[in-house]
Amino acid sequence: MAKVLVVTSGKGGVGKTTSTAALGAALAQGGQNVVVVDFDVGLRNLDLVMGAERRVVFDLINVVQGVAKLPQALIRDKRLENLWLLPASQTRDKDALTDEGVGRVITELRSRFDWILCDSPAGIERGATLAMRYADEAVIVTNPEVSSVRDSDRIIGMLDSKTVKAERGEHVEKHVLITRYDPARAARGEMLNIDDILEILATPLLGIIPESQDVLKASNVGTPVTLNNAESAPARAYVDASRRLMGEEVAMVVPAERRGFMNRLLGRRAA
């Protein structure tokens, strides 16, 4: 039974694209047939993070408009043979997407894959609403900041009202993924803590991804962080999250501060 999962947030720059790539790769490593679909028409990035930017010929808009067939637009990942990308167009804008066309593409993808991960654009306009329109599940990517949390709350409200499932009276299964969690800043009280975020969003937690240079490094070389350095803390957190998506019980690890020797010596500055 194919599952359509939208990765969304409302706010920009919180890590939707990184998380889509990382979760997609982790699910594929777990043996699932996965396609990641870039809905950020006009500002596409998923192809870069996946390292497939030089192989894009046709894109989502072409398929939605019937110019190209779906197999022509799908790009297979070079590292994992059961991971595919459906890129967005960089030259068009989000108005080129139609509800009916997206519905047709999603239906066709459902017959080919186990997981369809839709990378939503930021905002709450057409691109974002169409990305979530046919979703069965949603991952809401949130940074531990008030602005991000409030935008996530808004997006959850839209998931509960604007999706096909919601209109049928069913529920889109929602998960919160907290990214860019900085244990040191959390310890100093400079960020919202996990409990506060979950209390505000009243939605189950999928995982906590620590802030890490590994994420940036992986993006720059065009590799999902789960493939680039599987032993890194963010990679392990994404793999755990993907296992939870598949229904496994995995204990939640709250990233803790690792203090180096110098830090321990000079960690506390006198006020």
């Binding site: 409030r150 709350d153 808004r154 409200g157 509960d160 209390e199 505000i200 009243a202």
Partner: protein, 233 residues
Amino acid sequence: MDVRADPTRQLVRLRGRSYVAFVFSPVVPIVEWLAEIDATLARSPGYFVGKPIVLDLAAVDLSSSAIAHLVGSLNERSIRVLGIEGVDEDRLAANMPPLLTGGRACVITRNEPAQKPEPEAKPKPTSLLLDSPVRSGQSIVFMEGDVTVLGSVGSGAEIVAGGSIHIYGTLRGRAMAGVNGNSNARIYCQKIEAELLAIDGYYQTAEEIDETLRNRPAQAWLQGDTMKITPLN
């Protein structure tokens, strides 16, 4: 000395009043048109009782006696004609309804006597229960009475109620109670972090809410024209 009482002159007061009249526009043959009227009466007897009826004869060319016969036929059916229009005045005899001019068309709302007794309309509910959190950007408007939320109201969400507002969770957004002018309405919440509270138009923003109340169960009500916010329990 002669005393003379001036007879007080009674002023004739003229007042205007307008009624919506039914306009009958008979067509030839008149007999068939009358049969149509009979059919209407058979379906709903008394439909024309007490309603002003005007005859518009513009579509037909009737002699004076034919008009008299038509008015008589309607009288037999208990339809009293108030006036006639669309005909030369000289065709109307003195005992006939007067000529009318200057009528304006308007829409008649038909309220026929109910054929079948309509199911009694359920009284509208006077409270609204929401069993999920109200998210940022959502606006709940319920003018008919109280709103109860089983969950939190997110920052950037708003609840507008004609009555009181009860929130079994944290209120982080706006709550506006008693918006119809109900100054007895109150706002209750389990944790107050509201952006704005308003009752009957009197409001307080987050800045004005006492810091010591934050994160505690609280209620807000109006005392005269000041808003009071006190901890619950």
